[in-house]
């Protein structure tokens, strides 16, 4: 027989120990082969399973395996081996069969090279462990395999193993960001750790205006401009501004030279109509709603460098400039379009402002673009007996000249640029797919003008009364908003070689950002910066339906603030459910669960457990953390924002487990070695907490700063941790004094969540103005002053009745009944007043 083993391989331990104890004669040459250990049997068959080899050796020497032995072996293979990296193992009873002992011992021995022992319910393991460890065969086997190097001896073997599989079996989307780390990388990490903060540069404050700089990574981030007329709901917020904000915060921490701009998109029919409805001018409507947007985003801690508007002079200037260039370069075509015009209202009617009889199915309320009944797409001019929805007059058909952007003429140029951009940049999959399908359907000329008043005027004399169609001119808003931020805007927008442009949006905006707008810029031929990385999210639904302002379903705008739940918690949850690969849904129950488990019990719990600080020595858990860090960076760069968040939570979980296992609060009361260990553990934990606070900054900026305040951590740790490739340094060293630790998060109670879910579930009336609020006084706790008044009266009356009955010496049963009524009324009153319904201590009956 020949036995093949390798160095540092824990499975070989068991085999060698079994070999020695059974006394079977075997050659043991040392080789390195892919599947080891392996046993070549006399018959020529190979055994490659270490457990099977051990069984065979035991059987050959006369010791057969019992059924319970089988059970242990199976468990060892399916569960224990997988838990190689986990310290916390529950064992059943100590047993005396040797074979299973060897197997389990071989794995456990490698973990317990430092002085940790099981306590509490697992104390019995210590006895078993000591007994097995003292068996000579085990000791010598351990010696042979590990060569006296302890855990280190195992390192190179472990690094070559594949990452542990999740217990769900077949993964559909393997994360390809996990990798083994080389010896050099680990050495470098240890070195960096000990360097500490002293050699790191200080973080600099932001200086406006931010302009591209030579030698730095210049990143321009835009979020799709929210339409001013609509109050944003949670779906809009996560789709655009919040995603862009997390990325921007992250980028600034990494030391990139980053500018984040956004603003309200204000031109268009909808604003015109709203203005008419509210009796204001479009400009005033825009002023009013721009302020609403601005304050909502401020509350959500969206850190724009500049939040502007599309209704500025710069917009007119730049849009008209692009227009003329397109015209000069021959990319515009003229055509005549037939439209319905209402002479009464003196305007051309947009499709949804015409109603008539469907030419196909005769449905009388068909709208100008689609029949609601048969669903067919129609042109407004095809409607029978059309009517203007506003004044009910019959519109007339008028021809109108319009200008079209000749997309087919620009198609080749566009495709060339797309090829380059999508291959070198980080476009999300859905963005690429949507773009491809638009191209596949064939590009057609797109109309860029409209017969409206509220818009950027078309400068061409033949189209005097017209404005640009909002989808042509809105993306130009990115440029004009930047122009309103700085006069040197062209350094960002006409500088494709120095600038990387990131566009964040929801998937319905993709075609305009990947086809129409780039075509405008390409056709204008002025060296414009085009998008390098297009990041599109899917849709966020609300519970099991969609957000709807008209039906009062879902959380809109500043309603989030009114719930009393802090902005950081909203941010955390929205980012946690960010719809990346597919649609996702906001769920109150889930938000409460995540808040209570991840934030409160995991993150908050960990930070709160810290007690004291002593300086540290590296230990193997930190290797885990560094691996998580690297994964985190690569994920954040690829804008896998959700996965990155999960890594942060993993680090916190590791931290919790680390403290849980090492129990520094107990060890600190022990002897010298224990106290030193306790010190090490707390020191490491505090630095982990510091690291966490930095990593959380893009997600929850307030919480992040609060943690640093509580730890009394210097501001410089922020820049050190994430600059360049990122390093984990010892920022809080021996002798550091921390601040006061207090709870970071509040629990979200079930009844609170139920009430909120009801509130936003579609029962509130749509857009009722302020006066109604005074009447609606019932709040979450059932406090009701009106009712309280009535009850006070009732209590008084009932009280009188009882007193009267007692004075009359009425029947005891009657009195008891009336007293019961009185107590009940008092209870109701207390509830209505918001007080505790506990009855006051019963006064004893006074004897007369």
């Amino acid at each position: 027989m020949e036995l093949f083993v390798s160095e540092g391989n824990p499975h070989c331990l068991k085999v060698l120990a079994a070999l020695e104890v059974t006394g079977v004669q075997c050659m043991v040459p040392f080789l390195s082969r892919p599947t080891l250990p392996a046993l070549l049997l006399p018959t020529g068959l190979h055994l490659f399973s270490s457990n099977a080899i051990c069984r065979y050796l035991f059987e050959v020497s006369g010791q057969e395996c019992s059924e319970f032995c089988n059970q242990w072996l199976e468990w060892e293979a399916t569960d224990l081996q997988l838990c190689l990296n986990c310290l916390y193992i529950g064992l059943y009873d100590p047993f005396c069969d040797l074979l299973p002992s060897f197997l389990i011992f071989s794995l456990l021995s490698l973990l317990f090279h430092f002085p940790v022992s099981f306590t509490g319910e697992h104390k019995s393991v210590n006895g078993w462990f000591d007994r097995v460890a003292s068996i000579h065969s085990c000791l010598s086997a351990a010696q042979k395999v590990l060569q006296g190097k302890g855990l280190q001896g195992m390192k190179s073997y472990m690094q070559r193993q594949p990452a542990p599989q999740s217990s769900q079996g077949r993964n559909t989307q393997p994360c390809n960001c996990e990798r083994a780390f080389s010896e050099e990388e680990l050495e470098a990490a240890i070195l960096n750790w000990s360097k500490g903060l002293s050699t790191s540069p200080l973080a600099t404050d932001r200086q406006h205006p931010i302009l591209p700089q030579e030698g730095k990574r210049n990143i321009l981030v835009t979020s799709a401009l929210p339409y001013v007329n609509n109050v944003p709901h949670l779906g809009n917020i996560i789709g655009c501004v919040l995603s862009a904000d997390v990325f921007s915060r992250y980028g600034r921490l990494r030391g990139w030279n980053l500018l984040f701009v956004c603003g309200t998109d204000e031109y268009g029919t909808a604003t015109e109509n709203k203005a008419r409805e509210e009796g204001l001018t479009p400009q005033l409507i825009c002023d009013k709603y721009h302020a609403v947007h601005s304050s909502i985003y401020k509350w959500f801690q969206i850190d724009f460098d500049f939040f502007g508007r599309t209704t500025t002079e710069k917009q007119t200037e730049i849009a008209q400039d692009i227009f003329w260039r397109l015209h000069k370069n021959g990319f515009l075509v003229e055509d005549t379009v037939e439209q319905l015009r209402c002479e009464q209202c003196q305007r051309f009617l947009a499709d949804r402002f015409v109603e008539g009889i469907c030419p196909h199915c005769k449905y009388p309320e068909a709208r100008g673009d689609q029949c609601d009944k048969c669903g067919r797409l129609i042109n407004a001019v095809e409607l029978r007996e059309p009517q203007c929805k506003v004044c009910r007059q019959t519109p007339v058909i008028r021809s109108s000249k319009h200008l079209f952007l000749d997309l087919p003429k620009l198609e080749t140029q566009l495709e060339q640029w797309l090829e380059k951009s999508t291959s070198t940049g980080d476009w999300t999959t859905n963005a690429k797919q949507i773009t491809r399908s638009w191209l596949r359907d064939g590009l057609k000329p797109r109309c860029i003008t409209r017969d409206l008043l509220w818009g950027t005027p078309v400068p061409h004399p033949d189209f005097k009364e017209k404005v640009f169609y909002v989808w042509f001119d809105a993306p130009i808003g990115y440029l004009s908003i930047t122009a309103n931020y700085t006069d040197e805007w062209e350094k960002w927008w006409k500088n494709p070689h120095q600038v990387e442009l990131y566009n964040f949006m929801a998937k319905d905006n993709v075609p305009f950002h990947s086809v129409v707008f780039p075509c405008s810029l390409l056709g204008a031929q002025d060296n414009y910066t085009l998008v390098s990385h297009l990041v599109a999210t899917e849709y966020l639904n609300y519970e099991d339906t969609k957000f709807s302002k008209s039906r009062g379903v879902g959380v809109f705008g500043d309603m989030a603030k009114d719930t009393g739940i802090p902005a950081d918690v909203w941010r955390f949850y929205l980012l946690y459910v960010r719809p990346e690969g597919q649609d996702s849904a906001f769920s109150w129950a889930d938000m409460a669960l995540k808040n209570n488990s991840e934030l409160l019990n995991n993150l908050g719990n960990f930070i709160n457990r810290l007690v004291m600080v002593i300086c540290v020595i590296m230990n193997s858990y930190l290797l885990h953390l560094i691996c998580e860090c690297y994964s985190l960076f690569s994920l954040s760069e690829k804008k896998l924002i959700r996965d990155a968040l999960k890594h942060i939570l993993n680090i916190s979980r590791h931290g919790n487990q680390y403290i849980q296992v090492n129990e520094p609060w107990k060890n600190i009361k022990g002897g010298d070695t224990e106290r030193q260990r306790a010190g090490t553990v707390t020191g490491v934990s505090v630095n982990i907490a510091c690291l966490l606070s930095v990593m959380l900054m893009p997600y929850m900026p307030e919480v992040s700063q609060t943690i640093r305040n509580q730890l009394n951590a210097p501001q410089s740790c922020v820049s050190t941790m994430l600059q360049d490739n990122g390093t984990f340094v010892c920022s809080l060293c021996a002798g550091h004094r921390i601040g006061t630790v207090s709870p970071l998060f509040q629990k979200l109670e079930a009844d609170q969540i139920e009430a909120l879910k009801k509130r936003f579930g579609g029962q509130q009336p749509a857009a009722v103005p302020a006066p109604a609020a005074a009447v609606e006084v019932v709040t979450v706790n059932g406090v009701d002053p009106e009712k309280a008044k009535q009850l006070t009266q009732a209590v008084a009356e009932q009280g009188d009745k009882v007193r009267a009955l007692k004075a009359q010496n009425a029947e005891k049963t009657v009195i008891t009944a009336e007293v019961a009524k009185l107590l009940d009324l008092k209870k109701q009153l207390a509830l209505a007043e918001g007080k505790s319904p506990e009855p006051a201590p019963q006064k004893g009956k006074k004897k007369k």
Partner: protein, 173 residues
């Protein structure tokens, strides 16, 4: 899933009275409620117990070597096969194909529970294979077809069609 396998195995072994099973944990590890002692845990462990109960110890291997080989494949089934990812499938089939080149059954020349449990475990993989792939892993397919037709083995699983004549010539592989 494991429970259905065990009940099929009981039928094959001709055990008159079916045993009582339950499951444990997220991975739904099968547990056998034993009248004569504490419960037994684990698919491979229970399968071996059933073979002994039915007085068919030869199904666990008739020599020390073949017994070790049977245990090895049982372990392989509950570890590598049950938790394999899409990428692993190629390697599993490749290794098995090489292994079965000169063997009729997994543990040499006799049918054992290793064949049964590996057949149950590998069935979902084989179902998804295209004809060309089945021809590529010709030894696995041959062994699989043999086991699925073995009297009394295939109870709860649908048969997989295996063509007798090769469609793809050796050039295609």
């Amino acid at each position: 899933m494991a429970l259905r396998e065990l009940s099929s195995l009981e039928k094959y072994l001709g055990l008159k009275k079916p045993n009582k099973y339950s499951t444990q944990g997220d991975k739904k590890v099968p547990v056998l409620q034993n009248n004569n002692g504490p419960p037994l845990l684990g698919l491979a462990t229970i399968a071996c117990h059933l073979a002994k109960e039915a007085k068919r110890p030869e199904l666990l291997g008739d020599t020390a070597e073949s017994r070790a080989v049977v245990q090895q494949w049982l372990e392989y089934r509950v570890t590598k096969l049950d938790s394999c990812t899409k990428e692993d499938i190629k390697f599993i089939l490749k290794d098995l194909n090489l292994y079965l080149q000169d063997k009729v059954y997994l543990a040499g020349n006799r049918f054992t529970v290793a064949d049964t449990l590996m057949y149950y475990g590998i069935h979902p993989l084989i179902v998804d294979l295209a004809i060309q792939e089945k021809e590529q892993y010709v030894n696995v397919t041959r062994w699989f077809d043999h086991i699925q037709h073995y009297p009394g083995v295939r109870h709860h699983l649908p048969p997989v069609v295996v063509l007798k004549n090769r469609i793809y010539t050796s050039r295609h592989h």
